[in-house]
Amino acid sequence: MKKVTYFPGCSAHGTSEEFDQTVKMVMKTLDVEMEEIPDWNCCGATSAHTMNESLAYALPLRNLVLAEKLSNDTMTIPCASCYQRLKVTKVHMDENPELAKKINTAVVGEGEYQGKVAVKSMLQYCYEDVGLEAIKAKVTNPISGMKLACYYGCLLTRPKAITQFDSPEYPMSMDNIIEALGAKATPFDFKTECCGASFSISDTEVVLQLSGKILEMAKESGAHGIVVACPLCQSNLDMRQPDIEKKFKVKYDLPVFYLTQLMALAFGFPKEKMMFAKHIVPVDGALAHIGEVIEEPKKPAKAKKAVQAESEVE
């Protein structure tokens, strides 16, 4: 039994409750015990680092200090934005102890930061600490037949110096997990494009354009749905999808799943537990593909023969 510290983030109690719930189900199945940071606070998100640098470090630092009071060496975070803020803070504080000391004065009464807990996104933890084989071993109801575009967004793998995980241009970790569940990951060029993030509220037009391109490319890849591991990506691609369809006069019908919803489904949890009712774009059409046989495009047989013939000559 592994143990890990858990930082749910604000949206886990709000727009992404289904992410939080399914992370808990999946981790339990994978024999990981999660210990939530007691009385954690908001990471400050985009707004803090936009407006006030000291606050942008202090808010995550309090959570890092609280995490050190628990006995686990790693913490995992489902929200990509929270993950980014905590990891940036950790990397900068570890590099610059003088800065850490200064920022620590704003974290009143919680003690000194020591830098002893590793910070990993939920995706990274599943991929590196649990591993593909362990995930595969728990699959009882493979979701074969589904074609899915894995969308990572900007914050799970970038900037490389901060995340130190997967590729910033064409990551494959989520694709590999999806394939371990039996589904097919489609070749998708917009994996790490930005969805427009918090502009959803402050300047919606930006999100309609940016998320619109992501939906367009996902559809073009032949996917039945999109897989994400970030609450803001999910709400932009899902909740804004009807507006995007209206604006550009198109029809996508692409449900946007959290990675852990699909993992839980493949692990045999009943559909009712995934809170699919919260989704704006209905998921049933995509889920109906489970069990279908995907026909692979035929590889040119000639080329193979030619190679064989060559080796025979040798």
């Binding site: 908001c42 936009t50 407006m51 202090a58 509220i201 930006v206």
Partner: protein, 190 residues
């Protein structure tokens, strides 16, 4: 490899470099950042031009542009920059200077973006955590656009996508204290 830069004492460049930890003079104007940036078409000046403006010491023009307010910090540009310049950090430095030195653009989008961030930080100061529904409502009230996104409300609320309340934290007081201390630290940084 260098491009044209201001030959006298460029205090703006120095301030941006110091704040960002980057060296804007490294930029050789290839424009890869512009083609990579997902929001460059929303900007008065795309990242490449902002870099050149900083080199030339064009402080007023840079500070009054909307560019740094549209930057999403998605780091796509810096990942592809052949000079490995941390462009989002440069944008952030320009933004922080604009806040410290009270540059206020009349651009409505910039005003809305700033207002959004202020409201978000108010929520955290009050509850320690984000209260999504209240944040959206306050944004509509304070930008005088009451009906923004109202067409989403019935579905989003009925389906429970956006909950009505917030589970605030116990140590909300500690967060208010943190805000005070952070403001003090910011003043020292100036």
């Amino acid at each position: 490899m260098i491009t044209l830069s201001y030959q006298g004492k460029n205090t703006f460049l120095e301030a941006v470099n110091k704040k960002s930890g980057a060296d804007v003079l490294e930029c050789y104007q290839c424009g890869k950042c512009v083609s990579t940036c997902p929001v460059s078409n929303f900007m008065d000046f795309p990242p490449r031009e902002i870099m050149q403006m900083i080199k030339l010491g064009l402080k007023e023009e840079t500070q009054m542009a909307n560019s740094m307010w549209f930057c999403l910090t998605c780091s796509a540009c810096s990942g592809r920059c052949p000079r490995e310049i941390d462009i989002p950090a440069v944008m952030e430095a320009v933004r922080h200077i604009a806040i410290e030195e009270n540059y206020h653009s009349d651009n409505k989008q910039v005003k809305n973006i700033r207002k959004f961030h202020e409201i978000f930080l108010d929520m955290i100061k009050r509850y320690g955590r984000n209260y999504e529904l209240r944040m959206m409502a306050e944004f509509n009230i304070r930008t005088r656009n009451l009906f923004k996104d109202m067409h989403l409300a019935p579905k989003a609320l009925l389906k429970g996508k956006i909950p009505l309340g917030v589970k605030s934290m116990k140590s909300a007081k500690a967060i208010r204290k943190m805000y005070e201390m952070a403001d003090k630290l910011e003043k020292q940084n100036k």
